[in-house]
């Protein structure tokens, strides 16, 4: 294929960099509004079609197969007239000429460009981090590496006690490995849970067989040909045949930076998901909107909806950041957190604890609204609280019954 090959209908060209969830969702939103507006070409670094990255954890745990997690099949691309370059990452953007070039040598002239490059796992830059057996938990390849390791090895160390780390650890445990989670903070999932909930979670996961090292600072990954241990700053070490780094992600912005797009922590976009170059939009984990970056799916779906509309020329939507909710996908552990569960000046707490039944619930209230929720053990009202948070429903009349659930409040109403 040659650069600038005109499409038959002379439609404007939309180039999409990133075959992930954010990019494809944006394309879907666009197609809903304007199915024939663009000639669309998608570049993806991974050799697969588009899959649901959120379901990598169940994939690892053995609860789902690869087929289960695929989102858009090759047929879908065909049916929608989309050209897909899978396994062919883009290497450069020439904004003057409006051309993107891929590693395989494709050069495509675009009228609109959508950046959906996502993020890269953050690998701790400690000695030994490049040893074989040190991986992240980001894509299907990583899952396959882990499944292989589980077949042949015993000791797994997961560095990072966040959502992703715990899901990885749980998956590896399910695959029969002996798993230690190493976390630099003093409580797990500190971005989603308050301490009491984190403690309940830790206890529950310990009962499932996971081990935890909190306040643990990794100094070095030890090994010659292959990782053999993880050593800490205090000099102690633990054996490791596999090290999974889940210590956070970094927005993938190299391409944008090279192209001279304005970036801070990520590619800066406005409320229409437009970058500083009016022909270029960006969505997903690679963007920075009003100082925030994104890692959860819900806001990204909303970005896709707004961005799709603008690409379709129906550009009246604005992206507004909203509270987000998280659910931990570990079998037997019910955990839900949403919104600002830490609270701030002027916020108030409602707390319910039933440790014997493993239940902990906390709602953060500000004025007449709920702004955050942490639910552990009994999460069935999570979506309801989330709705109350998002829609800013006045809950003053329900306050005394709120924590006891939607069913009761509905009776009272």
């Amino acid at each position: 294929m040659t650069a600038g090959a005109p499409s038959i209908a002379n439609k404007p060209v939309l180039a999409v960099i990133g075959n992930g969830m954010a990019g494809m969702r944006t394309v879907e939103e666009l197609l809903k509004l304007a199915p024939d507006l663009y000639d669309i070409t998608v570049f993806g670094a991974e050799p697969h079609g588009n899959y649901n990255r959120i379901l990598l954890s169940p994939l690892l745990a053995g609860d789902k197969s690869i087929d289960d997690i695929m989102l858009n099949t090759p047929e879908w691309y065909k049916q929608n007239g989309i050209t897909l370059h899978a396994g062919d990452p883009v290497t450069g953007i020439d904004r003057q000429r409006r051309i993107v070039r891929s590693r395989a040598g494709v050069a495509l002239r675009y009228d609109r460009l959508l950046l959906a490059t996502g993020s890269k796992p953050f690998i701790l830059p400690v000695p030994g981090h490049q040893l074989p057996g040190v991986i992240a938990f980001r894509d299907i390849q990583d899952v396959e590496t882990m499944l292989n390791a589980a077949r042949n090895h015993r000791h797994a160390v997961v560095i990072g006690g966040g959502l992703l780390g715990l899901e990885a650890a749980n998956g590896l445990l399910r695959q029969g490995m002996d798993v230690t989670v190493v976390h630099v903070m003093d409580s797990l999932m500190e971005r989603q849970l308050d301490k009491p909930a984190a403690l309940l979670l830790k206890t529950a996961l310990e009962q499932k067989g996971l081990r935890f090292l909190l306040n643990a600072q990794t100094a070095e990954i030890v090994g010659e040909q292959q990782v053999t241990a993880v050593r800490f700053k205090d000099g102690s070490d633990i054996p490791a045949d596999l090290v999974v780094m889940t210590a956070g992600v970094r927005p993938n912005i190299e391409l944008a930076q090279q192209a001279g797009l304005h970036c801070e922590r990520a590619i800066v976009v406005d409320d229409t998901l437009q970058t500083y170059d009016p022909r270029i939009y960006a969505v997903g984990e690679c963007v920075q909107h009003r100082l925030a970056t994104f890692g959860l799916v819900a806001p990204i779906w909303e970005q896709a909806r707004v961005c799709g509309a603008h690409l379709a020329g129906a550009g009246h939507r604005r992206y507004v950041q909203q509270a987000t909710a998280t659910k931990l996908k570990v079998t037997g552990v019910d955990l839900y957190s949403a919104g600002d569960f830490i609270g701030s000046e002027g916020s108030e707490d409602l707390v319910l604890r039933d440790p014997r039944r493993g239940i902990y619930k906390r709602l953060v209230i500000k004025g007449p609204h709920i702004v955050g929720a942490v639910l552990y053990g009994d999460v069935k009202d999570g979506p309801w609280y989330f709705e109350l948070i998002q829609q800013r429903i006045d809950i003053s009349g329900l306050r005394s019954q709120l924590l006891f659930g939607q069913a009761l409040c509905a009776q009272a109403a």
Partner: protein, 921 residues
């Protein structure tokens, strides 16, 4: 003194119960209902009404029905105890009966030797049996030689006694219960009969149903439950009764309602009485003004009274407990004398007594100004009669100290030894803090009681364990002069003894003869014989109180004695017949055989309200409690209806004094203060408040209303003015309100205000605190004594709203819970309380725990209305609304509520009318 002998640890009470049914008499109010008590071999007691008893014909009120819940040994005083060391801070120690009796006898004797007979006193009770009472009176008035024996009956009906004596020449109640049913007009004055004498009220209610033309008038400053049945309620100003009845007397005179024949032949003093009456009341308008009544309503009452020959005027504490109580009684009797409505069926003035044996006490002369067998202390002939009969060494010659004066004399040191029997004066007397001061100073305080810890026992030097209802044997007399047997059906617990026995043993140790009774029937026999001794025209003393028909009974006959109204006549057949009503022969007990009108000059209460103390405090009973709760407080069934003390006031007064319904208020008078929860029953007039008399230092931190009550007494009867004390009400500010339900007792040290309520398998505490709680979780764990580290401990917290709740579960059973809030808006206790009966909480229960209500609605039945069947307000209201019920009979058919004792019928009526109004709106 020798060191106390050592005793084995208290053995677990292993009593053997002899199963079977026993007929006995209820120990509560003066109605004197017959009770059938059925004892099971495990000690459980089933209670039913005695169908053959003429007081109640098988019916019982809720208090009587719950008697079975009060016979356990929890908190009972089972062994004599004594202050062995002089150190007052040390607890009393168990001693032998010999040691205790010696101590009492020796203490009394040495004080008498040093300071004379009037330096000792007995303070006894209308809950004593006649035989106990008889011995106490004999010991004091015939042997010690002082009349310093008074009784808590002084507090309830001494004005009636004095009124009767002034009008009739003796303390004679002319009527019987049946007269209430035969009357065409029943006037209830100062009596919440529906709650305080429920069985009499039921009898009136049933008759009124069959004879709707029968009229019921209630004269009471409060709109009580009794008013639900009334055709007319006159909410007169507190203490204005004499104006009202003087007005009536004058109205009757002016409207030709005088029975001239009766007045001429059988009475004295009408002219003077009428003069006084007419001078005060120009017309009914003036009376209405003095009594703060609607003139039209007042006139209606006067007209009804004039029009109905068969009129009974029944009165109770609202009349008696006043500094003009005796005049009030006489102003009522005057109206009956003027119209000749006495001594015939369906008419007469009727004093309804409040205690089970107030009447029996009067019969044996248990008051400081009486002698025995209705004889007069100040009558030399009577004194001689009694002395001869008793062969008494040293007769009292002048009246002794009446209750209020007695405790003043103790404080001033004139009386140095007091023996308190079966009553709790630190709670029940007016100016009750003065009673505390007096007892604290008293050289020797002996208390006989059935309960170990009471507010009064705290001051005792010697505690003597008495037999309780069901264990003791003897007789009581009801309001209609009916003598009934109280029979023992329970074994004697511990070392408790009958009061008459204890008294005799002390008397003997003091060296007195005449106290060697082997059994209680011998005491009764002596009492009966004394009533007949030198009684009759032949002896120049014709005394109506005559039990000759009951003398000479042996044990078996005494045990078989059927309820009977004195005086008794012996028929030609030898059968004995009681006398339902007196004065049928128009012969009264004054020497001239005539009744007397008493000129009653109206006067207001002794202490008027003023700007410092602007409200008038009225006190009284609630439906399901009795006196100081030592017995009824044990019953979970009775605790539900009104769980804690309250101050009922008009909403506008509340607003004016800065208090709100549901919150706590401090009530203070010149004599003392207390704290209670503000309530608006809707039945109370402006400028007055009502506080119940029951709560005390054992059941609440600060709810002893006696401390506030003024010590003013009626000049004739010495009865205190419980129905009017100037007080003020102000906010009692607390940082939080809360409640605890717990199988054990919480640590209340940090709690400013608390009330303990007996639940079924749990204790309930209503709490309030002044100091804010910073760490709720720690605080609650300490309160309930829970180590939360590995406890099943559930919590709910709304931090900034100050709401905290915790529940402690042990082995899947609820063990305790605490609910706190800055406002008294706490959830209902009913459902949580019901969980204490469950051996295992199910999941649904558990979810509701911290909410305090079941997750599915409709299970919370609300506060109890019908105690007999445990039917709650929510249940009744739901049924009324959903099934469109319109009357009590339908509610009863549907829910059983109101179908047993009927005490709650007035409340159900009120609910019905409220819902009717609500639906009409």
């Amino acid at each position: 003194m020798k060191s106390a002998p050592s005793f084995p640890l208290l053995p677990a009470e292993k009593l053997s119960y002899k199963p079977g049914s026993t007929l006995t008499t209820c120990p509560y109010c003066g109605v004197g209902c017959g009770v059938r008590a059925t004892l099971h071999s495990d000690g459980q007691v089933d209670i039913a009404g005695d169908e053959s008893h003429a007081s109640n014909y098988g019916r019982l009120c809720v208090k009587g029905s719950a008697l079975g819940e009060t016979v356990d040994l929890d908190g009972r005083l089972l062994y004599p105890k004594m202050r062995v060391e002089a150190d007052a801070t040390q607890p009393l120690q168990r001693v032998s009966w010999d040691a205790a009796l010696d101590q009492v006898a020796h203490g009394f004797r040495s004080i008498i030797e040093q300071h004379g007979p009037d330096s000792v006193a007995l303070y006894v009770s209308g809950q004593l049996l006649t035989e106990d009472y008889y011995i106490a009176n004999k010991l004091m008035k015939g042997y010690i030689g002082s009349a310093n024996i008074d009784t808590n009956s002084r507090l309830c009906m001494s004005s009636a006694v004095a009124g009767h004596k002034r009008a009739f020449g003796a303390d004679l109640v002319p009527v019987c219960y049946e007269d209430l049913e035969l009357a065409d007009l029943v006037v209830l004055v100062g009596s919440n009969t529906a709650w305080c004498h429920p069985i009499l009220f039921q009898r009136i209610a049933r008759i009124k149903e069959t004879r709707p033309q029968m009229k019921l008038v209630v004269i009471d400053p409060r709109r009580t439950a009794t008013c639900e049945l009334a055709d007319l309620h006159l909410p007169l100003k507190a203490g204005s009764d004499v104006w009202l009845f003087n007005g009536l007397l004058s109205f009757l005179a002016r409207n030709n309602a005088i029975d001239n024949n009766f007045v001429d032949t059988s009475t004295n003093g009408m002219a003077a009485a009428l003069d006084v009456a007419e001078s005060g009341c120009v017309d009914h308008g003036a009376v209405a003004k003095a009594c703060k009544l609607d003139p039209h309503d007042l006139l209606t009452f006067y007209e009804w009274f004039a029009a109905h020959e068969r009129t009974v005027t029944a009165f109770s504490q609202g009349v008696n407990q006043s500094s003009s109580g005796t005049d009030k009684v006489n102003s009522i009797i005057n109206c009956h004398l003027l119209t000749g409505r006495i001594g015939r069926p369906g008419m007469g003035p009727f004093s309804i007594t409040g205690q089970p044996n107030a009447m029996g006490g009067r019969e044996v002369g248990g008051l400081a100004n009486m002698l025995a067998a209705h004889m007069e202390l100040e009558n030399p002939q009577h004194r001689q009669t009694v002395q001869d009969f008793w062969q008494a060494p040293r007769m009292a010659e002048r009246p002794g100290l009446k209750a209020v004066d007695l405790f003043h004399a103790i404080e001033s040191g004139r009386v140095k030894a007091v023996w308190i029997i079966a009553t709790n004066p630190v709670v029940s007397l007016p100016d009750a803090d003065q009673v505390q001061r007096a007892l604290a100073k008293c050289e020797l305080v002996v208390v006989s009681d059935i309960i170990e810890k009471t507010d009064t026992n705290a001051f005792a030097h010697v505690l003597l364990p008495a037999l309780s209802w069901g264990e003791k044997d003897g007789t009581v007399t009801s309001s209609e002069r009916r003598i009934s047997r109280q029979r023992a059906f329970l074994p004697t617990p511990g070392e408790a003894r009958a009061d008459w026995q204890i008294l005799c043993q002390v008397a003997q140790r003091m060296g007195f003869k005449g106290f060697d009774f082997a059994a209680v029937h011998q005491v009764f026999d002596e009492h009966a014989r004394l009533s007949a001794y030198r009684n009759g025209d032949a002896f120049g003393q014709r005394r109506t109180f005559n039990l000759s028909g009951l003398s000479g009974l042996d044990q078996k006959q005494f045990d078989a004695m059927a309820p009977v109204q004195w005086p008794l006549t012996t028929l030609a057949s030898g059968d004995k017949r009681g006398t339902p009503r007196l004065f049928a022969d128009r012969r009264f007990a004054h020497p001239d055989g005539k009744a007397r009108f008493i000129a009653t000059v109206p006067r207001g209460p002794q202490y008027a309200t003023d700007s410092d103390y602007p409200l008038s405090l009225n006190t009284g009973r609630v439906r399901d409690q009795w006196h100081t709760m030592t017995r009824t407080g044990k019953s979970p069934k009775l605790a539900d209806h009104v769980p804690e003390s309250f101050v009922d006031m008009h909403p506008q007064d509340a607003l004016l004094h800065g208090v709100r319904e549901g919150m706590l208020a401090r009530i203070s008078s010149r004599w003392g203060e207390m704290v209670a929860r503000v309530q608006h029953s809707g039945g109370i007039a402006r400028d007055s408040i009502f506080v119940p008399i029951h709560w005390n230092g054992q059941s609440a931190s600060d709810a002893r209303v006696g401390a506030l009550v003024n010590p003013a007494v009626d000049p004739v009867s010495g009865e205190p003015e419980f129905k009017h004390t100037p007080v003020r009400v102000e906010e009692f500010r607390v940082a939080w309100y809360g409640f605890v339900l717990s199988r054990s007792r919480p640590m209340l040290d940090d709690v400013t205000h608390w009330t303990r309520i007996q639940g079924r398998r749990f204790n309930r505490y209503e709490l309030a605190g002044r100091s804010p709680i910073s760490e709720h979780s720690t605080w609650a764990a300490a309160l309930l004594g829970v180590d939360t580290a590995d406890a099943d401990w559930l919590e709910y917290q709304d931090v900034s709203a100050g709401i905290y709740r915790a529940v402690h579960v042990v082995d899947d059973r609820i063990d305790a819970c605490v609910f706190l809030s800055p406002r008294p808006d706490l959830p209902s206790r009913a459902w949580l309380a019901s969980l204490f009966g469950k051996e295992k909480l199910d999941d649904a229960d558990r979810i509701g725990l911290l909410l305090g209500q079941p997750i599915e609605k409709g299970v919370d039945t609300g506060p109890t209305v019908c105690s007999c069947f445990g039917i709650g307000r929510n249940t009744i209201c739901d049924a009324v609304r959903k099934q469109g019920l319109t009357n009590v009979a339908q509610v009863t058919a549907c829910l059983k509520a109101g179908g047993n004792c009927g005490s709650c019928v007035p409340e159900i009526k009120k609910l019905l009318s409220e819902i009717l109004v609500e639906e009409g709106a």
